[in-house]
């Protein structure tokens, strides 16, 4: 990635020359929120309610209310899980990897991306629990000294999953929260009411910008970035092992780990774009989130999209080259021509063809087009996971057990409900939390040339 070489093209910060003004500028949505976000909160809250209702209904009745069956033991829930956890990758990728690579342009968007990661992980974490036959025993997957002295079975990739997801959630939270401390302190000290001062003060943990604070902070932040970097790569790799360690044709593949990681970053950046483009317009953040940010993210989308396309090419090739008849059938017949072939082709269109238009600079800077592309990419990535999960299972080794799958209303409620919950959490975040890394921006202001004009 050579975005660093393009400093001249676009500024990363526009127009503000004063720390106090910048502070006021960035924290303004906290003290005088945009009404549009409030209105958006209503459908998001209703959707979340649908999600919770559907979840409770599933818990009470049993997952027979979903469309899953034998052979398609996993379907929407695992698709949603993999999709959300993939989306959650952009946050830590931006925070950690771009931080280590000293990509200055990460600064304005990293907090949004990290928050997005957290909420995506919350959603992702709910689905594996909800998909259990007996979800109230979910803790049996964790090692604890039970009276029967029975422990989890550590050869199962599902126990790896538990470790990976919980680690990822925890580390992402710590990373996010550590970075948030100085800004929470700023919010505390600029809050208009006593209650808010108290609340933000409580969350700021007594941060007051001392040099000793900053010293520990910077070392710890660097170390967390260093720790989170392999974590980003490992989490989706381990998620991919849920499939790759299985013998199921269509799953049993060594290319899954890198393929999944690329797809995760792909969908994650698409989600960041999906969130940032409207937010930027609504809150008039063009001076903080500039076209440079947008352009860079579009390039990441193009790069990861191309890796994903390459994986798509490699998958059937590996199957064909292996000579394994079951794998060949899935890759060469089952997916392109079997049940849900349309989802497979939708995936190809959304993930392979659509991102390639981003070679055009004009499209990378066309916000409407980018928004549509990023939405299509997310649709494509969901479809990809659906294809991997469902089309493999429905065409197993014994043709006698071939069957198909049809989702139920509850499946749909959970998918769209989880999106609502995600949006709801994000809106709450934008409403109450400094969503742009203010202290980093102040530092950036001193490093970057600042233009006074807002580019279109």
């Amino acid at each position: 990635m050579s975005m660093a070489g393009q400093h001249a093209a676009d500024p990363l910060l526009i127009g503000t020359s004063d720390d106090a003004a910048l502070t006021q500028r960035v924290l303004r949505p906290l003290w005088s929120p945009h009404p549009a976000l409030g209105w958006l909160m209503i459908p998001a809250a209703l959707g979340s309610l649908v999600f919770i209702t559907a979840l409770c209904y599933t818990f009470v009745t049993g997952i027979g209310v979903w469309g899953n069956n034998i052979p398609v033991g996993w379907a929407f829930a695992i698709t949603n899980f993999v999709w959300w956890i993939g989306i959650g990758h952009a946050g830590t990728f931006i925070s950690a990897i771009l931080y280590l690579l000293q990509q200055e342009w990460r600064t304005s968007i990293n907090r949004i991306a990290e928050a997005m990661t957290l909420f995506a992980v919350v959603n992702a974490g709910l689905f594996p629990i909800a998909h259990l036959g007996r979800p109230w025993f979910f803790y049996w997957l964790a090692p604890y000294p039970a009276t029967m002295e029975l422990w989890p079975q550590f050869r199962s990739s599902l126990t790896w999953d538990v470790a990976a997801i919980s680690t990822y959630g925890t580390v992402s939270f710590l990373f996010w929260y550590l970075g948030l401390l100085p800004d929470l302190a700023t919010a505390r000290d600029t809050a208009p009411t006593r209650l808010r001062r108290r609340l933000y003060g409580l969350c700021a943990l007594g941060w007051r910008g001392a040099a000793s604070h900053w010293r520990s902070y910077r070392i710890a932040y660097l170390l967390l970035a260093g720790l989170a970097t392999p974590l980003v790569v490992s989490v989706h790799s381990i998620v991919s092992l849920d499939f790759a360690v299985a013998k199921q044709p269509g799953w049993h593949s060594t290319i899954f780990p890198p393929y999944f990681v690329a797809g995760a970053i792909f969908s994650g950046f698409a989600m960041v774009l999906t969130l940032v483009i409207p937010l930027r317009a609504l809150l008039r953040l063009q001076d903080v989130i500039t076209m440079r940010h947008i352009d860079n993210m579009a390039k990441v989308l193009l790069a990861t999209g191309s890796i994903v396309a390459y994986s798509y090419l490699l998958e059937p090739f590996t199957a064909w080259y292996s000579g394994d008849p079951y794998e060949r059938y899935i890759q060469l017949v089952g997916r392109p021509a079997g049940p849900f072939a349309w989802v497979f082709w939708l995936t190809i269109v959304c993930n392979v063809l659509v991102p390639q238009v981003l070679w055009l600079r004009s499209l990378r800077r066309n916000l409407v087009a980018l928004l549509i592309i990023s939405l299509l990419v997310q649709l494509g990535m969901w479809s990809e996971r659906f294809v991997i999960v469902v089309t493999s299972l429905q065409r197993g080794a014994l043709p006698s057990s071939w069957s198909s799958y049809s989702p139920t209303l509850i499946d749909a409620c959970l998918l769209f409900g989880s999106m609502s919950l995600f949006l709801f959490l994000f809106l709450v975040f934008v409403r109450f939390v400094p969503f742009i890394a203010l202290s980093e921006l102040k530092l950036l202001r001193r490093k970057e040339p600042v233009e006074t004009q807002v580019s279109p």
């Binding site: 580390v171 100085p182 000290d189 007051r208 910008g209 040099a211 000793s212 604070h213 102040k442 001193r446």
Partner: protein, 175 residues
């Protein structure tokens, strides 16, 4: 009786210069406050090398060892036959060992910040000084301990500071 002075600066360069100046004059235990990390400040304040990386390393290795112990120990504790695998299935243990390494390291790092920075201290004498809140917005502060046994009560300190162009100097910690 300890007392100190809180010195306010308009820019990080002034703060840095003041810190260097005061240290050169022999003042110790200086502390600075700034809305963002100021490069070179740690050296100017004479801060020792941080031991957080070591703590994180120890934490991470503890996580690694703990998960290995749990995985191998749990397998021995209840040795069940599974899929024809040998009881000691090291490759299968690796993913969790990796994850717990990261998890323990990250938790150590965060806790180290809290402990080493003395966070969780929701009130500080400085908070009572009007205008100090700008330390997290746009102003830079330096506290200079002026424990003066001669009874000059910080006069020399104030004189020394005058050369650093402070916005203002406020005494802290008066009884």
């Amino acid at each position: 009786m300890t007392s100190s002075l809180l010195v306010e600066f308009a820019s990080e360069e002034q703060l840095l210069a003041a810190a260097l100046h005061m240290r050169a004059l022999g003042y110790g235990d200086l502390e600075a406050y700034s809305p963002f990390p100021v490069a070179g400040l740690d050296a100017a304040l004479g801060a020792p090398r941080s031991r957080i990386p070591l703590a994180v390393l120890i934490g991470a290795l503890t996580g690694l060892a703990a998960s290995y112990a749990i995985e191998w120990g749990a397998t021995l504790d209840y040795p069940l036959r599974v899929g024809g695998f040998p009881l000691y299935s090291l490759p299968a243990f690796i993913p969790i060992m990796f994850e717990t390494t990261i998890l323990a390291g990250a938790l150590t790092a965060f806790c180290a910040v809290v402990v080493r920075s003395g966070l969780l201290q929701w009130w500080h004498p400085l908070d009572d000084i009007a205008g100090f809140e700008r330390s997290v917005i746009d102003r830079f502060f330096l506290t200079v301990p002026c424990d003066d046994p001669d009874g000059h009560t910080g006069m020399r300190c104030r004189t020394d500071l005058a050369a650093c162009h402070p916005v203002r100097v406020v005494p802290v910690g008066q009884p």
